[in-house]
Point group: C2
Chain length 242, copies 2
């Protein structure tokens, strides 16, 4: 065992996506970033994250650090990739295990917003600290690929939603129009949503039906990894880390 080994430190970061109204009122894909308050990259924006504590699981560390920095508790959390290039941090060797997460719009509204925590348009970011632009690009690619063959669109929505709201997730994330009639037939054939019998409040004339997700179907197929219980509760609520 080499002594060089002990010089590698381990961090966890998370790319958090949400849909929120832009200045024009149209929804857009956004993510929260944290301004760095120390070197390296002091003053630049970076993904929320922090070092891994020895007494917490990787997904727990992702949940904890994003709760601490943004107050967000995502509906969907999945490991993205471990980034470990030699030159990714100028002063020391850091391997970052990166998660990606989806939060519903109403949850996103509850996020901390301050001078040092802000939402950015996912496809129009400034130059970020470390290799975080590459990490966001890869997370965007994974999100768009996975939206097409899984049910993760529901990670952006609340408990109940209209079919128009579900369709809007696809349109905004994939940046292309989706035909309403085809979409309705496709969703109804998939069995992934259930009509609640209720209708959207506050809409005149014929208010649209509300649906909920059919929770007997997982949002994604993780194969044998589903045997690892992915904790959704941040470590901070389960005991003191000190």
């Amino acid at each position: 065992m080499s002594t060089a080994e002990s010089q590698v430190s381990l961090a966890v970061s998370t790319v958090i996506f949400a849909l929120r109204p832009s200045a024009s009122g149209e929804p857009e894909l956004v993510l929260p970033l944290v301004r760095r308050i120390r070197e390296p990259y002091e003053g630049q924006w970076a993904l929320p994250g922090g070092p891994l504590n020895s007494n917490e699981d990787l997904a727990e560390a992702a949940s904890r650090t994003l709760l601490e920095t943004t107050a967000l508790e995502p509906r969907y959390l999945e490991q993205l990739y471990a980034f470990g290039q030699l030159d990714r941090s100028p002063d020391d060797r850091v391997v970052s295990i990166v998660y990606w997460a989806l939060v519903a719009g109403d949850e996103a509204d509850r996020a901390i917003q301050s001078e040092n925590v802000q939402w950015f348009t996912a496809d129009n970011l400034p130059e970020l600290a470390f290799d975080h632009n590459l990490i966001v690009d890869y997370a965007l690619w994974r999100l768009r690929t996975k939206l097409e063959y899984s049910r993760i669109a529901h990670g952006f929505l609340g408990e109940t939603f209209t079919l128009a709201q579900l369709r809007e997730v696809y349109e905004v994330v994939l940046r292309k129009p989706v035909d309403p009639g085809n979409f309705r037939r496709m969703v109804e054939a998939s069995g992934t949503v259930v009509a609640t019998g209720e209708r959207l409040a506050g809409t005149p004339h014929r208010p649209p039906q509300l649906y909920r997700y059919n929770t007997s179907i997982d949002l994604t197929d993780q194969g044998p990894l589903s045997r690892l219980s992915a904790p959704r509760t941040p470590a901070s609520t389960r005991g003191d880390n000190s």
Copy 2:
């Protein structure tokens, strides 16, 4: 920054798949395992791997440790997942970044084989050290999923191959028969193989055509990660690690 952080150590392991003839002569999906010569799990079989050195990339560490333990240099290497459950190692906290690799049959024949390095049938493993059974199960799931929508089957083959050899990869890995006529049409339509104009030597009557992979097409689509050059040359050939 918590002091607990420094108690986490980082290792790299690799699940290496190859197709080799079984006792009956039929090819089967196999992987090499290394017998542990120290506690914990002394005497049990485990995935090849070792600690990450601070001066090597993650993929380099995967290549180096598997060259050191098995003498193998894979045709295909991809990051699988970072495993970091609290209870995965009894004595200390180890986060393992796991890669998976494919080697061609002739390369597999060159692997070290000894009392402590042996090939096992992938679907019939003994109880392995740590969480390595779960890791292999997940790698098998990823291999089978990815074989269906990418060109990674070529990772099991040499420079040139017959269509029957390519079809055999699908049949053995997916454990189901594949219709030869449909398969030929599907492969020819995909543009992923190129006829070499040569024929398999040593075959009587009409020897089958030899093909090679169309290297203008990547074996898989890694999206923005392709910007990270995945080194295929183990670190040990590029300089001394000491």
